[in-house]
């Protein structure tokens, strides 16, 4: 097995975003670094199956994601009711008023169902196209688009985000809700 200097540079260059993605998946920095290490070992030993010239970052993200979910399946087989989980978190945390700071945002992000959070992060932060994100998650492009859209709506509702206008948070949220209802009616 040999790794070309160019591929090596690309591998090293992907480590930072791999870590950020891993944290967004599992929520724990230490566990995230375990995931990154396990991913790098797997990638290194399977580098022959990577087609140079294709998207290395997407390949690494796919390995990390698959590894993460197979670990979860191994650890606990219980089925999580994503909607129930979400509703529980909402009840536990009263709606945030006023300005949106990063701690509020992180909490809201963690309250998203896993599939929505990862879709949002891949497209909105890691810089992947919808098509690439669909490949990483092994679902249809439309599924990714729908998950991203639902993730944004959930975040907006949870955080009662103020728009750029002068209206307060509550009326902003109401405006969001009514606009959602209108569009989906």
């Amino acid at each position: 097995m040999t790794i070309s200097p160019r591929l090596r540079e690309e591998l090293l260059g992907s480590v930072r975003s791999l870590r950020a993605f891993a944290v967004s998946l599992c929520g724990q920095p230490d566990r995230a670094d375990d995931l990154v290490q396990e991913t790098l070992v797997k990638a290194w030993s399977n580098i022959d199956s990577f087609q140079e010239g294709t998207n290395l970052q997407a390949w690494l993200f796919t390995i990390l994601r698959n590894h993460y979910y197979s670990e979860i399946r191994k650890r606990r087989r219980e089925v999580e009711d994503a909607d129930g989980h979400y509703a529980g978190r909402l009840a536990a945390h009263p709606p945030q008023q006023g300005h949106l700071d990063l701690a509020d945002f992180k909490r809201a992000l963690r309250s998203l169902p896993d599939d929505q959070r990862e879709a949002l992060v891949l497209v909105g932060a890691s810089g992947f196209s919808y098509e690439e994100a669909a490949g990483i998650c092994n679902v249809a492009v439309g599924t990714i688009k729908s998950r991203v859209s639902r993730a944004r709506s959930h975040l907006a509702k949870t955080l009662k985000i103020e728009s750029d206008s002068d209206i307060g948070p509550d009326s902003t949220a109401e405006a969001i809700f009514s606009s959602l209802k209108q569009r989906r009616a």
């Binding site: 870590r19 950020a20 920095p29 909105g124 729908s146």
Partner: protein, 59 residues
Amino acid sequence: MTNKEKTNGKKPGKSPALDPNIQAHIGRKLRAVYDEVATAPIPDRIVDLLAKLEEDQRK
């Protein structure tokens, strides 16, 4: 609010129903959270692992 909003039958692929300003706001916060990790120094244990992998390759 009803559950319809959660399980709406909207076709995937349509543009998001959110105000563009709100969407941009969420995007900025999301990238700020992500970049907290993505711009941090790589921990020693990962640097060490990479060095070891490279060393093994040379053998």
